[in-house]
């Protein structure tokens, strides 16, 4: 029996979304996604590229919070003027946060309420429209609820499968790899790319996920458990990547 916390299970689930990516820029927002991306880099995806959060590609892997440290081993320069070249070229996989997401992976972190006069202005469109059409995207939801997993998002910032399909050839680089929440892992491996419950974190039931989701999930047969962290992964997370325990403040339990 693993003594991994829920946040540590989530970090490994995020690491898994990068499996097979090779020499791609791995971008992640939030504590758990950042730990997950770095864990993948330190274990099974050593060729991933990462930035220092400013303008440089870092060859070494810093702990959380030390991204732009003076001791960085710089392997490249990626100012904002070059960022969209790389993104639209496709060699990136981003894990973005989602304020709302629907069954086809349409995503919103721009605002809540009508766009002309929102109840809450959030991040704005940022790069989500281009990201989702140009390179693989995954999502991180630390607070799985029917307020986040909704029937219809207020504003589409990141493009989902139904809308991407309707674009024809312009949608051919679209891929939403996975959604990782504090309850489980979700993918779109269904005939019409509706969101599917791919695995459950330890201690979470199918009923709980269904209850906390505002649309009908695809659920086929017995849902497998999310892979538990291995001993070496737990050591890396606890001692190397996040010694201060930021992960357990982002996800409780």
């Amino acid at each position: 029996m693993s003594d991994a916390s829920r946040a540590e299970v989530c970090a490994v689930a995020v690491a898994e979304v990068f499996r097979g990516d090779g020499e791609r820029l791995a971008s992640a927002f939030g504590a758990v996604p950042t730990i997950g991306a770095r864990l993948a880099r330190l274990t099974f995806e050593p060729d991933l590229l990462m930035t220092d959060g400013v303008a440089f590609l870092r060859a070494d892997v810093p702990p959380l919070g030390a991204e732009a440290g003076d001791d960085a081993v710089v392997e490249g320069w990626l100012p904002f003027r070059s960022v969209f070249d790389l993104l639209w070229n496709g060699r990136r996989h981003v894990v973005m946060t989602a304020s709302q997401i629907d069954r086809y992976g349409n995503h919103n972190f721009a605002c809540i309420g009508p766009h002309e006069k929102p109840r809450a202005q959030l991040l704005g469109m940022r790069g989500a429209p281009g990201n989702t059409l140009c390179h693989p995207t995954s999502y991180w939801v630390p607070n799985h609820s029917s307020k986040v997993f909704v029937e219809k998002v207020d504003v589409v910032s990141g493009v989902g499968y139904d809308r991407a399909r309707a674009l024809g050839p312009a949608g051919r680089f679209h891929e939403i790899r996975r959604v990782v929440s504090n309850l489980g892992v979700f993918d779109f491996a269904t005939p019409d790319n509706r969101m599917r419950l791919a695995s459950l974190h330890p201690g979470v039931s199918v009923d709980e996920v269904v209850e906390q989701t505002g649309f009908e999930l695809a659920i086929d047969g017995d849902v497998p458990p999310t892979r538990l962290p291995e001993a070496e992964e737990l050591r890396l997370v606890r001692e190397v990547l996040d010694p201060r325990g930021a992960r357990d403040r982002e996800v409780v339990g």
């Binding site: 400013v54 303008a55 440089f56 100012p79 904002f80 003027r81 969209f84 993104l87 639209w88 721009a110 605002c111 766009h115 002309e116 006069k117 929102p118 109840r119 809450a120 202005q121 959030l122 991040l123 704005g124 469109m125 940022r126 790069g127 989500a128 429209p129 281009g130 989702t132 059409l133 140009c134 504003v155 589409v156 910032s157 990141g158 493009v159 809308r163 991407a164 309707a166 674009l167 024809g168 050839p169 312009a170 949608g171 680089f173």
Partner: protein
């Protein structure tokens, strides 16, 4: 040609309703001394084009802006700009909210004097619906026939950017990690102003950094403003970092009209940038 000028003269050229671009990114290397001068002016109904930071928050909050063209407005260490949020939530500005890459493309199209540049970014998202009166698509004339977004040129009446060094002729240098899009703002604008931390002799420019840091040449600049501390409270490395304490105080005033009133009185009603810098020194 000696292009030295002042914030007051440069802002004095602006007229109500103009479209102005402000360089930098978020709370990084923003021409804040110029923003403060605009706040001192009677200007109104501006269209602001910005990778937005406190420039957007302050100008929108102070009622200078009718329309803003942006991808985000952030203070970096404070992810959401609270004054901008309040203005948006009051429906007090017209918002042309784009994908960040589309904004680059619109400035680049204007810089190249093209009507538009094509991209996939935006297709399928609500960028296309919330900006339906502004954005159109275009079909590739080649065999692929792909339909793409035609991001219209974002032509600027005036551009303001802040650099670390410049000479009096308008050659300008960034010494921090990122040039952002400052050259595109200048190329996209009819009138181009660079403020700088320090004016130097042309022959001394390369003492500060390699030739690669000379991002603006003098053909791209009409006026040079020496403004030490001019990016405050945003960061301007290597000259100085962000004044996080000041930024925090600024952000906190969004929750409290009285605090905003006091902040505005203290910092933004001063007669000149020199007074602002003097008061900052007294504060320290």
């Amino acid at each position: 040609m000696d292009k030295r000028t002042t914030e007051r003269e440069a802002v004095g050229e602006l007229r109500d309703g103009m479209t102005i671009g402000i360089g930098g990114w978020g709370s990084r290397r923003k021409p804040m001394s110029v923003v403060r001068e605009i706040l001192r002016s009677d200007l109104k109904d501006l269209t602001l084009v910005s990778y937005g930071g406190p420039d957007a928050g302050l100008l929108c909050k102070a009622g200078k802006v009718r329309r803003i063209i942006y991808g985000f407005v952030s203070l970096d260490s404070i992810p959401l700009e609270p004054h901008f949020r309040a203005v948006r939530q009051a429906g007090a500005v017209e918002a042309v909210e784009l994908d960040e890459g589309m904004l680059q493309w619109g400035l680049y199209a204007a810089a190249l004097r093209l009507p538009f540049l094509p991209t996939r970014a935006g297709l399928g998202s609500d960028v296309m619906t919330v900006n339906a009166d502004w954005l159109r698509t275009v079909r590739s004339p080649y065999d692929d026939g792909e339909e793409l977004v035609a991001v219209p040129a974002i032509e600027l009446d005036a551009a303001f950017v802040h650099m670390n060094r410049a000479d009096a002729r308008g050659n300008a240098q960034f010494l921090g990690p990122d040039p952002y899009f400052d050259d595109l703002y200048c190329l996209a604008a009819k009138r181009r102003f660079v403020s700088c931390e320090r004016l130097v002799e042309t022959g001394d420019l390369l003492k500060g950094g390699s030739a690669h840091t000379l991002k603006l040449n003098r053909s791209m600049v009409d006026g040079v403003i020496e403004a030490p501390g001019g990016a405050h409270f945003t960061e301007c490395p290597p000259d100085y970092g962000r004044d996080e304490a000041f930024q925090k105080e600024y952000a906190a005033t969004a929750k409290d009209p009285d605090a905003w009133e006091r902040f505005f009185e203290t910092w933004l009603t001063l007669d000149s940038e020199a007074d602002y810098q003097r008061r900052l020194k007294e504060r320290a």
